[in-house]
Symmetry: C2
Subunit: 349 residues, 2 copies
């Protein structure tokens, strides 16, 4: 069962409150180095893939203004990531930026947080208190028990916000270590009903980062903890979104979209499964219908092992066979395989 949490509104998105666990990602480069038109197009693509929110780092006033312009047109809510300078948070809230993340380890004195809250109350923005094991407030940074130190940092902010009567807050407690991320979130989840944004920070490149993130999130989501997730990878935002959706699907917290069964290929394979998967990946990611599709290397095991798939394709000598429920639907050349497969999937939907 999911942990009952308060619902917190970020634009059109509600985090917690029994709403589906949302998936977010973060923009990877300085906004002033790229064309805003391109960023806006990427936001639309990320939204189509299933990203529910995108966060942007705001290191200076120009970034706040560029983010503000994007936020006016974005199909999904945008969040600002603020470190050190609370005035940047204030500036973002001059625009329809839905969520402000501040780091208690570097935002500074209490009066600065009060200023941020006062303006959030006016504009309807929500906050994320983003505690990070590597940048804890002075006095907590050298604690031996990293998880306990993160919980203390989050609790201190929680008490301040409660004193001020501000409850539109999501918390996160992230470490680059799986165990302390899990421990900190379990402990903090037991102490309040605020929604939690979960993830492993600085998790690493695609493969190790995804392993750490899946392990930590798998355990927490298995406990019912986690209202919004971000898979933090040294990889493309699209990969982070795809990974987040897959984690939710594998944890049975989402059933829309395609479950791909595909064989790793072996000495029996006559079909370039990896190349085929690359050719159809954008199409597959665009499908929201709950489908299981199989891409298999050989006819010996393929159709049998994938008989529970809604639709499948397999190599068979120099041809590919498209099958449904274990029965041959169509036989095509390798060159025509991607187009034919797409056609049959569309017929199915």
């Amino acid at each position: 069962m999911r942990r009952p949490t308060r619902g917190v509104r970020a634009g059109r998105l509600i985090i917690g409150g029994g709403f589906p666990v949302s998936v977010q990602t973060m923009w990877k480069s300085p906004l002033n180095a790229v064309s805003l038109v391109d960023v806006a197009a990427s936001l639309r693509d990320l939204a189509t893939m299933g990203s529910d929110l995108v966060r942007f780092s705001v290191p200076d006033e120009q970034s706040a203004e560029l983010l503000g312009r994007l936020a006016s047109e974005s199909p999904i809510p945008l969040a600002a990531d603020i470190h050190f300078d609370y005035r940047l948070a204030l500036r973002c809230m001059d625009f329809p930026v839905a969520k402000i993340r501040i780091n208690p380890g570097n935002i500074g004195e209490e009066w600065k947080v009060r200023e941020v809250i006062a303006k959030a109350r006016d504009t309807g923005a929500c906050l994320r208190i983003g505690v990070n094991a590597g940048s804890l407030p002075a006095g907590l940074a050298d604690e031996q028990d990293q998880a306990a130190a993160m919980v203390k940092a989050a609790e201190t902010e929680m008490e301040l916000l409660e004193r001020l009567g501000f409850h539109e807050v999501v918390f996160s407690l992230k470490s680059s270590d799986v165990e302390s991320t899990v421990d900190a979130n379990r402990a903090f989840a037991a102490r309040c009903d605020y929604p939690l944004h979960i993830g492993v920070t600085e998790a690493g490149p695609l493969i190790p980062g995804l392993v750490k993130s899946t392990l930590a999130m798998g355990r927490l989501l298995g406990d019912g903890i986690g209202d919004t997730i971000r898979v933090s990878l040294s990889a493309r935002p699209e990969d982070e979104v795809l990974a987040g959706l897959e984690i939710l699907r594998a944890c049975r917290l989402r059933s829309d979209g395609v479950n791909v069964i595909s064989c790793p290929t072996c000495g029996r394979s006559s079909f370039d499964v990896r190349k085929f998967l690359e050719e159809v990946s954008v199409f597959i990611q665009s499908i929201r219908a709950p489908l299981t599709l199989a891409v298999m290397g050989c006819v010996v095991n393929g159709p049998g092992e994938a008989k529970k798939a809604d639709l499948g394709i397999t190599g068979a000598g120099k041809m590919a066979i498209i099958f449904k429920g274990g029965q041959v639907l169509r036989r095509v050349n390798f060159e025509a395989a991607a187009a034919a497969f797409r056609e049959e999937v569309e017929n199915l939907i």
Copy 2:
């Protein structure tokens, strides 16, 4: 605590018996389509990365002979994957092939298994009984409870092998579904002390496949179940090995090799973290010393958040800084960064 299991010898490797959980992968294409010299070189590379065993599909007699030639020279034990024709298993055992995988769903009558066992006893090869949810024996294929059907298939083989007094056996029970893979392995693990090869079959392309595999293996390894693992991905064997090693490391079943902490980059980043990671990836994967290395995008958070790393590098304006324990060690141009980082890591080892 790890589940106590019988040790089964596959060449120089012992699976189970309290030995470290081993990592395996599988060769992806027909052996008669490539140069054996190239395959032998790849096997050496996979061994250097940390692969403990490599399996090859043997669909015909020629493949058995090619595998046999490779096995005579391979630095790590090789396994043969046999479906349908028990005579191919016999042929493989004319060579120093360390392990024979048979699938009870398609190997056929009991006397064929007896023949395979008789020869394995003579040559010292071990067996894997590889049960696959998609290719269960007749009579079990249509069972509603997939996990229970897999357990029944494995138990039937186990009883036969025990009647014959043959114990050099590893079992696997794989499905493309996380839950039934976990359920089947838990149930079977409770019924015997044979070592288990764990994995999710036909898990899919890199991202979804790695998510499913990490979730299933994370749960099983967390229960102490699993003596050897294969991450089955529609991706390169190198990716499967890297993923397997990372899963073991994240589950604290391995401490050698590098733990990479790297930031996902954001609007603060002046350093191409992803490109840098690609440049140093082969070097990093070759290190067996237990190190934590950090690759960060910006100097604002980088050195602080990675102060627990043994060594780190971060962008700082138009330069990169190599740091150790939060202190600057060296300042270099981006172009010289990979070479300088490598040098400092080597100094450290």
